[in-house]
Symmetry: C2
Subunit: 414 residues, 2 copies
């Protein structure tokens, strides 16, 4: 494969994670250090930045400042949720992307996101091949949900899992302070896969795990749930429940959207989230003191309790993307292949076809969930525990987070 | 003052904080090392443990294990919200306490809590003096709300403030990821005083502060609030609001409890908290994308992001209590006297009369809040910033919190 000289673009897409910027740094740092990559451009708000010719010149940033990307949550370049049209139906966007690629002689495109981002990569790649414009395109995965196919796990998941497990352990301490009982219901992200909700169970290694964990991989039964909570509460005088926002009844209806006996009788929609709603139902049915807690955005942006393993792997994924592209690869997504043997945990990057993630959400295997559907089994713990290891450096100023401060010099001002 | 030999009891009361156990350690460690204190007893669930003769023998704990108290949130001995009767009306409890004190030859009583705990100390002290039983009684303050009178600040506040400021900075990053705007409303604890809500503004030192901050020290006006949010949103394309759970209208009604235009028209009570309710109103009035986030229990039990200054001072308060008692003092609460001069921050312990906290909640001075009542001024920052400094050691196992594991050997089994 002959050396391909030209600029590269890195874009970020989809919802924030604690380590998506570590992947961006992996791309940017490696690209800046690669002679055949003549210029490194950061797309403002993902593919929208390409379409709008809003590109930051990453060569203008201070090298030391870029390092702070490792410890800054959310997407430092800005993100988007823009879906490209089918090029056979409407190729306007693709023509524009080609125009921009030509304008800056872009020969490398790295896109950092979830399923939709891999789809975007795939479509752009096919289009460029169709028009005969040589550009190597590699996807760098991210999602806290961990539901991407073709990879052992996904950068972003582990830090969210660590935030959740740590918070659950602390809530456990708080919820056991009085000798009067309490039911605590913790709502956790993950609409279709229970990786994050299951991670609450890691807190059991601190002796502070939830008593019950409900994942969207099994059907939810409200009566059984109330029975589970009542039984645990009677036995322990306390009950901590971790519940995925995506739990649903057997007919597929999300519990959070369903009308239940806790509506006010006029069928008005519930305000507040699932935790509040379940807390209300449990209170009505058991008379116990109940508290609903939604971990909300904090679980995906809580970089102060990130996993060092996650940060390092996220960086590695970005670096591997550039190295693969420079060595001639295109049309691939970086993925992880891991082993968790007697010799400990190892993780290496591999390359997967971009469409491996399409139309498939990786769920928690049924056998990793207990028979009753209210807890996870040891294989889940064995899978997730290595991923949350290690405390990052975590730079601070005034004991507050020191996030990256990019100059964001726009190329269109050239 | 002659040396007083005898046992001591340490009890914890009221809601959890991240560092109340550091104060307990300050008492326990110092008491164990003090020859005239013959036995150190921990009351299970505060004064209830005394009444029920449920006392843990702290001499039975491993010294190294006790050190973990510094990093364990909530009350390791258990807490209560038990209010002693007026002894002139009903002295049953007091007789029982005297009986227990005599049983174990208790000559020192340390109580770690908020206003009510100081009241408990005061009542017991007066009773013991009345019946001629010599026992030295010292209160050790704690509350995340920071509303105790007679002390510069209160152990527990700073760690909650740090959790809040750090979380707000991270939420800021998350909320600025898209180029489509968003309004984020963050609900913060503090029913009557705005110390915690104001602490959200510390995040501005990370460049990630809230645009608007509402404290319960000023009257809340819903129309003005909507105007503030709309103006900020129009100007910045984004708006982050920190709001105390205790905001209230001019007539004193809590906003969280008031009927508003966001009720469903049948006047049904809102489910969910204040953040959800305000988010709903802002959404209706502005059409913006809005998210409500309740920091909930996490802000008071998030020991993983505790302030080292807070931990050290909490320990110091416990230590000072024992030293004061041993040297002959009784009927006092440990308090802090601080200076924030050009030479930096210093903090020393002083002793205050127990009733100094009674019937007085220390509020944020009006002049520390801006004229519009939607932000805090520099003096607030200057006050709070030194308190959140320093990262504690934070012991972990498997990268998860390693909390204290007490044996809790009951003396009644003697």
């Amino acid at each position: 494969m002959s050396e391909l000289k030209g600029a590269c673009i890195i874009g970020q897409s989809g919802g924030p994670t604690a380590v998506i910027n570590a992947s961006a740094l992996g791309v940017i740092r490696t690209a800046l250090d690669t002679p055949c990559i003549t210029r490194v451009l950061g797309a403002a708000h993902g593919i929208k930045g390409v379409l709008e010719d809003k590109l930051y010149d990453m060569d203008q940033e201070f090298a030391e400042e870029l390092e702070y990307l490792k410890y800054t949550p959310s997407s430092a370049l800005g993100s988007c949720r823009y879906k490209l049209a089918d090029p056979e139906v409407d190729d306007t966007d693709y023509k524009r992307i080609l125009e921009i690629f030509k304008k800056y002689d872009v020969r490398y495109f790295f896109y950092n996101g979830g399923n939709d981002s891999m789809d975007t990569c795939n479509k752009i790649s096919k289009y460029m091949q169709g028009v005969g414009y040589e550009c190597r395109i590699i996807g760098v995965p991210k999602t806290i949900d961990n539901d991407l196919n073709g990879t052992d796990h996904c950068p972003g998941f582990a830090s969210a899992a660590k935030y959740i497990a740590t918070s659950c352990a602390e809530i456990w301490q708080d919820a056991h302070v009085y000798d009067t009982g309490m039911v605590t219901i913790i709502e956790i992200m993950g609409r279709h896969a229970g990786w994050l909700a299951g991670s609450a169970a890691l807190a059991s290694l601190s002796g502070c795990g939830p008593d019950l964990v409900y994942l969207p991989e099994t059907d939810f039964d409200m009566d059984q749930f109330i029975q589970d909570v009542t039984d645990t509460y009677k036995k322990n005088g306390n009950c901590i429940v971790a519940v995925s926002e995506g739990i649903h009844y057997a007919d597929g209806t999300f519990v959070s959207e369903a009308k239940t006996s806790s509506t006010d009788g006029f069928g008005h929609a519930q305000l507040g989230g699932l935790a509040t709603m379940l807390a209300d139902i449990v209170k009505q049915k058991t008379g116990a003191k109940v508290r609903g807690i939604e971990l909300s955005l904090l679980q995906r942006c809580g970089s102060h309790i990130a996993s060092k393993t996650d940060i390092d792997e996220a960086f590695l994924a970005g670096k591997a993307a550039v190295e693969a592209a420079v060595s001639g690869t295109t049309d691939k997504m970086v993925a992880f292949e891991c082993s968790r043997g007697v010799d400990g945990y190892t993780c290496k990057t591999v390359l997967q076809p971009l469409d491996i993630v399409a139309n498939f959400e990786k769920k928690v295997p049924r056998e990793w969930i207990n028979a009753a559907g209210n807890g996870v089994e040891q294989p889940f713990i064995d899978y997730a525990l290595p991923l949350i290891q290690g405390e990052p450096e975590r730079p601070t100023e005034n004991s507050l987070p020191r996030f990256v401060r990019l100059k964001k010099v726009l190329t269109c001002k050239d």
